[in-house]
């Protein structure tokens, strides 16, 4: 694309032409925006309108297109010109629908539309069509770390979809905990009886599958590279080491049962007190017959203590619920009842929670005569030849005791998530953990952890994504779960891995900007080796070379721009999104003077949630001030401080940053971007003071996509606040 030829198209449809003077917009686009071609159309997204643009691209050599009409989020299929740099001025959702009705608002409405056209023209001239990451890599094999139920299911899903899979299993056999389970909680109608695990058949399929290879007694010694070109050193127990070249990785390293020895008050460690895994072993030994204790005595009475060492708020044990234990205890109680209905089985629970179709399973156990009693166990002690469980009966509200031959403690799942890379190196807890992936990444050896030792992934929106692109977490390593959920997880993670290798081979971004061809360019000659980009990248995409310059692994990058926002010397850019594309918009405004009583408020809105929320505020006709100008950003993390200082120097009266919820329950699509922006903006006061400006001139808000009315309210409140403190004295210097 040697010669740039710009064109502006102004749509007057959807009532835009009735309230906004298109003639003025045309003049601004031509004179101020310096658009080579300016056209007006009454129905731009219709076939004729789109054809007009296509004809100009094909015949007039238009390379850059500015569309003034609806939001960039509307009609994106009609306005799809992949080889042409395209930007949009949001006149419909951003102006027409949000500015108050009535002739008295005509002037400010027109000014708002004028500014959006100016801004879009300014942005357009700084944009290039992204060419895609040239460092494509074509390896499409998928490595699965862990050969348990989740890992095997993931490998099979990938292999059945036509991708080579490699399993690395630490122990000497496949199957994990599932193979040490007698039967599983039912996954099919009528959800009434424990069913076969199917693990033996699964192992057979893995072993005989032509597209799956398995390394037993093996661990990952080192992982280097990026999606499409991971190099993984596999170390085997025998000392042999070799390297696997893979395109993506699924971490299905599973869980370890919480150590019952840490529960001595509940009999942990005492004879005839077992955990779920211990009971499975007894059930496998009995194989449908009477279950016997380790001393050979037949069990005639058994008590299950739920939430043992779980849901603990004292800090001594696991604070969370492991989700599967109620159904697992129900299943195990049925082992006894099915072998001999006269065995007394008591489940002491605090809240019986059986997700999925577990209610049917629970009813089935009740019909078999399993006694469920709401209570809290306080002590398990030896009594005679058996044990006595003291508990508080929470229904009868009294202290009670029950004797049993065997006690089963329903302990929780502890994630096998490797090293917590956030901990300082000298922390003894860090040294105790063995790394799973041994990533040769600047930011640490393993996947980042969110809380309670589980790998960081967004439960609801993108469950298998981790903070390392091309590496997906599946099964109980990312949250506690049962076999049913682990199986679903495995298939989901396998599909994400396939998506990752395909995107990497095309030089495109993975989730959440899946398919994006832009990638960060760094002008290394300007780099001061400050390392902020390498430290702050939420995805560990950037390593450092020997001279401590950043090394961008483009296919590890999610294209959020957090590095761009971090860079103090502004050497990081994307072809279609960079310091200039936003900066030029900030500086192009027709800024009214200090005494005009027309403030100008800049909104930098996250395009994932905040900008759609603003659009929807328009859709729902929530009126907000016509003094604001919103610019979408990829993530609040990409907001560079220079935009703030530029805006303040250009006479903007206030700046609102709108990003996603941060913290443990984050909604940020780039996990840490919003948090990073909030942190950076907490330090903006110095800048404001240097400029002699009030602290209120820069505010940051967490906004959810549903906060439509709230957005309008926030804007109106802020405009009132700015009016109260007065307009910026910085006008006219920019």
């Amino acid at each position: 694309m040697s010669e740039m030829k710009t064109a502006a198209y102004i749509c007057t449809g959807c009532g835009i032409g009735d309230k906004i003077d298109a003639g003025t917009l045309e003049k601004i686009a031509a004179k101020e925006g310096k658009m080579a071609l300016v056209k007006r159309h009454e129905f731009l997204c219709g076939a004729a309108g789109v054809q007009m643009i296509r004809d100009d691209i094909d015949q007039e050599g238009v390379t850059h297109v500015m569309l003034a009409g609806c939001s960039r989020r509307a009609k994106s299929e009609a306005f799809d010109f992949p080889a042409t740099a395209t930007t949009r001025a949001n006149l419909r959702e951003g102006v027409l629908w949000v500015v108050a009705e009535g002739g008295e608002h005509d002037e400010i409405r027109q000014e708002m539309a004028d500014d959006y056209v100016r801004m879009a023209c300014a942005e357009l001239k700084k944009m290039k069509v992204p060419a895609g990451n040239p460092a494509t890599a074509n390896n499409k094999r998928i490595l699965v770390v862990g050969g348990g139920f989740s890992g095997m299911t993931a490998a099979l899903a990938a292999a059945d979809a036509g991708y080579q899979a490699v399993i690395v299993e630490k122990s000497g056999q496949l199957g994990g905990w599932a193979a040490r389970t007698w039967k599983r909680v039912p996954a099919a109608m009528p959800y009434a009886e424990p069913q076969e695990t199917g693990v033996a058949e699964l192992i057979d399929r893995i072993v005989s599958h032509p597209k799956i290879s398995v390394h037993l007694n093996a661990t990952v010694a080192e992982t280097r590279g990026a999606p499409g070109r991971f190099a993984v050193d596999v170390a085997t127990e025998s000392g042999a080491a070799h390297s696997e070249e893979v395109g993506a990785i699924i971490q299905a390293s599973g869980f370890t049962p919480y150590d019952i020895a840490r529960l001595p008050e509940l009999g942990g460690g005492a004879p005839n007190v077992v955990d779920h895994a211990g009971l499975e072993a007894l059930a496998i030994a009995a194989d449908g017959g009477a279950i016997k204790r380790s001393d050979g005595a037949e069990v005639k009475s058994v008590v299950f203590v739920q939430c043992a060492g779980q849901r603990d708020d004292s800090g001594a044990h696991l604070p969370y619920c492991s989700g599967h234990c109620c159904a697992t205890s129900i299943k195990q109680a049925m082992y006894f009842k099915n072998a001999n209905p006269d065995v007394d089985t008591v489940v002491i629970y605090q809240d019986l929670r059986v997700p999925g179709m577990g209610e049917d399973f629970y009813r089935s156990a009740q019909n078999k005569g399993v006694i469920f009693t709401k209570g809290k166990a306080t002590a398990v002690k030896a009594a005679g030849n058996g044990l006595r469980v003291d508990f508080r009966d929470l229904i009868l509200d009294e202290d009670a005791a029950v004797e049993a031959d065997l006690v089963v403690l329903a302990t929780g799942q502890v994630a096998n998530s490797g090293v917590d890379i956030e901990l300082p190196d000298e922390d003894p807890a860090k040294a105790q953990k063995v790394s799973i992936l041994n990533l040769a990444y600047r930011q640490g050896k393993d996947l980042p952890i969110l809380k309670h030792g589980f790998n960081d992934s967004h439960f609801i929106c993108f469950p298998y994504e981790t903070r390392r692109t091309g590496i997906y977490a599946s099964g109980p390593v990312r949250r506690p779960m049962d076999m049913q959920q682990a199986g679903e997880d495995a298939v989901g993670a396998a599909l994400k891995a396939i998506q990752a290798v395909e995107n990497a081979s095309l030089g495109r971004a993975a989730h959440p900007r899946s398919g994006d061809l832009s990638f960060p360019n760094v002008r290394l000659e300007g780099c001061t080796q400050c390392k902020r980009c390498t430290v702050e990248c939420p995805f560990g995409a950037i390593d450092e070379d020997e001279k401590r310059f950043p090394v961008f692994n483009e296919s590890r990058c999610r294209r959020c721009g957090t590095c761009m926002g971090a860079c103090p010397v502004r050497v990081i850019s994307f072809e279609n999104y960079n310091v200039d594309t936003v900066g030029s918009q900030i500086k192009c405004l027709d800024m009214p003077d200090e005494f005009s009583e027309k403030p100008r408020i800049l909104i930098l809105a996250c395009e994932n949630d905040a900008y759609p929320a603003l659009d929807m505020a328009g859709l729902q006709r929530h009126v907000y001030s016509a003094f604001v100008r919103a610019i979408p950003v990829r993530c609040l993390g990409s907001v560079n401080m220079v935009w703030i200082t530029d805006a303040l120097n250009s006479g903007w009266d206030g700046i609102m940053l709108m990003g996603c919820k941060k913290g443990d329950d984050y909604q940020c699509h780039f996990v840490k971007g919003s948090e990073m922006a909030h942190y950076r903006m907490s330090k903006v006061d110095d800048t404001l003071q240097q400029l002699g400006l009030e602290n209120e001139r820069v505010v940051t808000h967490e906004v959810a996509i549903t906060d439509n009315a709230r957005c309008a309210r926030l804007i109106n409140d802020y405009v009132a606040q700015i009016m109260a403190i007065g307009l910026s004295p910085m006008k006219g210097f920019g």
Partner: protein, 201 residues
């Protein structure tokens, strides 16, 4: 603490001998029945607690509870139970079973009245309202009976004038046509019911 705490013994007994007793184990202890009962604050145990006590093996406490006798059969609990347990039926079944075993609370007014009503009815196949009323008034002694009768004098005279109360009923009263046939039916019904619930008649 009894030896059979949280064992299935008493639950099995209830299943075998109490109407709808096999449903008790399906209670999930949500407490909706207890919250729905208009008599909630006035009885010893809510259905929720009775069911938990059965499963905890508290035989004495359950069978001697006044709870089952306080039930007015409003059916709120049945209508609302998420597990669709026939709670009212179970409560009546428990009352009946406790009564048969002689463990029901002594002097419980509902129980006394129920006994009186049944005896009155079973004798001649028809309810003798005069005898039933007088029996009820005088159950606590002559003095209390006279006092109660005087208090209700106006009602009684009203009923008499409206030909709703026949004083001659005091001498035997009306009855079904085939009295021995009626007694045979009742005896047979009891035999069938006892066999069904495994009770000796």
């Amino acid at each position: 603490m009894t030896e059979a705490a949280y064992r299935n013994d008493f639950l099995k007994e209830v299943e075998a001998h109490v109407e709808a007793g096999h449903e008790v184990k399906r209670c999930m202890q949500c407490g909706v029945c207890a919250g729905s009962c208009p008599f909630g604050p006035y009885w010893q145990h809510s259905p929720q607690k009775i069911f938990m006590m059965i499963r905890a093996g508290k035989r004495e406490a359950v069978l001697s509870s006044d709870a089952m006798w306080m039930c007015t059969s409003c059916y709120n609990c049945i209508a609302r139970c998420p597990r669709k347990l026939p709670i009212t039926h179970i409560m009546h079944g428990l009352a009946n079973y406790a009564h048969r075993l002689g463990l029901a609370p002594k002097g419980q007014p509902t129980r006394d009245f129920a006994v009186m009503f049944w005896q009155n009815l079973a004798r001649r196949g028809r309810v003798n309202e005069l005898k039933l009323t007088l029996g009820h008034y005088f159950k606590d002694g002559i003095g209390a009976g006279i006092k109660q009768g005087l208090a209700m004098k106006a009602v009684g005279l009203g009923l008499y004038k409206a030909k709703r109360l026949n004083p001659l009923e005091i001498f035997g009263g009306h009855k079904v046509a085939d009295l021995s046939g009626f007694h045979a039916i009742v005896a047979k019904a009891r035999e069938i019911e006892d066999r069904k619930r495994g009770l000796a008649s």
